[in-house]
Symmetry: C2
């Protein structure tokens, strides 16, 4: 089999929903080779009219909170009970959990990963957050072209990657645990205010009451906070991904949200804004990449950063200096 | 009197704490003329070793919440009771409230604006947020060089300017009103999670109980949220800027914060990070400014944005196209 298909073969295979072609097309958008890049853009351009019809859901939470198990539970509900096609993507720029955790995910997504209507793709590894985010967003479009109705984009809620995910989804879901203790410290400040829904998971095995209490507390807290421009008041639910209790309720909230956001035009507006944001982000990243790659800049940057950090040189003077190089 | 002083005259005057020279130096950093820019950088470079010794406090809240009145009250406490020198700066990129509100501020900061140890400077007007933020940050350094011990940077909490202010201060204070009703809608989502302290103001004239209740609610809510990297748990206080009740309490919280943040090294670390952020922001802004000013880009951008927004062209392909122009 050829290492690469032609643009036409990719396009045809994608639109026919061929999983193997989808996988190879995602590998193509993940590639950093210039020739692959050109081909990938050709394919994306060709399938673009067939994208945009899925519901895009971001799922985040600290390591161990239960993301994989929750995705298995909600995912099985989506493919089995609702009969929809589901793709699961991930952004994990650290790629710390390369080998081990993909194995872990195979166990935790045992049924989903074997299901004909589910497509699971781990995060591209070994690149900058910008590169990973771009590849994931392009993979999302490819999945849509291949006919997936629902896309989950998973990320670990400890870094900058949630912001990237938030910028590519319609609905952003934060998983948490009852007992606002140490677990909380892992969630980055600011993530809470991006969430459209907070789900207190592991509400089982004697943990049910604590989860209910946490739900009440978070709901009360979120009520005090200003609404986002969607006009949607974030909701809090409990569930157990192990027993399945409460999992359909999370889906119901999503449906309520979609009705709300489609009703007031926010859904469409946000997608358009996201498109524009990606345009300007891409430009910014390319400009910065080129700038910081200049040999003169590379040579001086370290020393200048030191001076700026220590307050020996003003940030603006230093910027002028580097820009004049 | 010459329109411009020499670099040496500016420097000497600043270090001597001459208010007139300070005002003229701030006008200089606000100027968009290239010659002024070079001179301004020269002056800033010369006084830089004498900056950094003040406490920088950001103050935000929706229009009408009581920022000016609060600044008068807390400011008078700072200059009168504590005997410190205070400078008040502002970021207001909209500059909608040019004439009218500066007059308003003169009334609301009646005693402070007449006080020998207070220096009040309205926001530079008529430029982009980036330009205004840069000028304000440079003004802040000039005030420090002129010997001010405390700097307030005020902004209206409805746009992007709070993020800019947050990036130049040590302590960020959000003013709110009791009754989490419609007022709240004005505060942009995300601001709450930047606050080191929330102050419920106008706790007077029969509003005391509601303010106390709001304080309890917000304190409870904030406890559920993750700590920032300072490790500081945001506090909520009530006050009346009219009667002065609770105003010293706000200052006490600031002192507690400073002790905390200096104790764990966060204070110094954050200033260094802020310096670096300004460096990289400045570079980014300059790169983007130059890029979007290119005639070819200006000519095509509108049409390409439209196509991207409507999903007819992928954001990344469009970025490539513009970058290749
Ligand atoms: N009791 C109970 N345990 C759960 C539940 N969901 C997940 N777990 C357990 O919690 C542990 C972590 O679950 P994962 O799904 O791997 O968590 P994760 O968020 O994907 O973790 P990372 O992939 O490391 O970020 C596993 O031992 C799961 O069996 C639940 O609903 N109830
Ligand atoms: N009762 C009472 N009224 C207050 C208090 N603080 C401010 N006010 C009143 O609230 C109104 C708005 O106060 P300002 O201080 O101008 O509010 P601001 O936030 O600076 O408003 P902008 O400059 O428009 O953004 C004025 O009528 C003040 O007199 C207070 O503590 N108690
Ligand atoms: Mg996992
Ligand atoms: Mg005011």
């Amino acid at each position: 089999m050829a290492r690469r298909l032609t643009a036409e073969q990719y396009t045809k295979g994608l639109l026919a929903g061929d999983r193997l072609v989808l996988s190879r097309a995602i590998t193509l958008v993940e590639s950093t080779l210039a020739t692959d890049h050109a081909l990938a853009q050709q394919v994306l351009g060709a399938v673009l009219p067939r994208t945009g019809r899925s519901v895009r859901i971001g799922i985040t939470g600290v390591p161990g909170v239960g993301k994989s198990t929750f995705i298995e539970a909600l995912g099985m509900y989506v493919v089995e009970q609702l009969g929809l096609r589901l793709a699961v993507l991930a952004i994990d720029p650290t790629s710390q959990r390369s080998g081990g955790s993909i194995l872990g995910d195979k166990t935790r997504m045992q049924h989903l990963s074997a299901h004909a209507n589910a497509y699971i793709r781990p995060s591209p590894a070994g690149r900058s957050l910008g590169g990973v985010a771009r590849a994931t967003r392009e993979a999302l479009l490819l999945c849509e072209a291949a006919g997936y109705d629902v896309i989950f984009v998973e990320t670990v809620g400890v870094g900058q990657s949630e912001t990237a995910v938030h910028g590519m989804v319609d609905f952003f879901l934060l998983l948490m645990l009852a007992g606002a203790g140490d677990e909380l410290q892992g969630v980055k400040r600011g993530i809470m205010e991006m969430a459209d829904a907070v789900v207190i998971t592991k509400a089982d095995s004697g943990n049910e009451l604590a989860a209910k209490r946490a739900r009440r507390e978070y709901q009360g807290a979120l009520h005090l906070f200003p609404l986002g421009s969607s006009g949607w008041a974030p909701v809090v639910r409990t569930c157990s991904a192990l027993t399945g209790e409460g999992v359909p309720g999370v889906w119901e909230e999503l449906q309520r949200y979609l009705e709300h956001a489609r009703g007031n035009g926010y859904f469409e507006r946000r997608r358009q804004e996201q498109n524009l944001q990606w345009l300007h982000h891409s430009i910014r990243e390319a400009l910065e990449e080129r700038f910081y790659a200049r040999p003169a800049v590379q040579q001086q940057l370290g020393a200048i950063r030191e001076q700026v950090m220590r307050g020996e040189k003003s940030a603006f003077a230093a910027a002028d200096e580097l820009l004049d190089l």
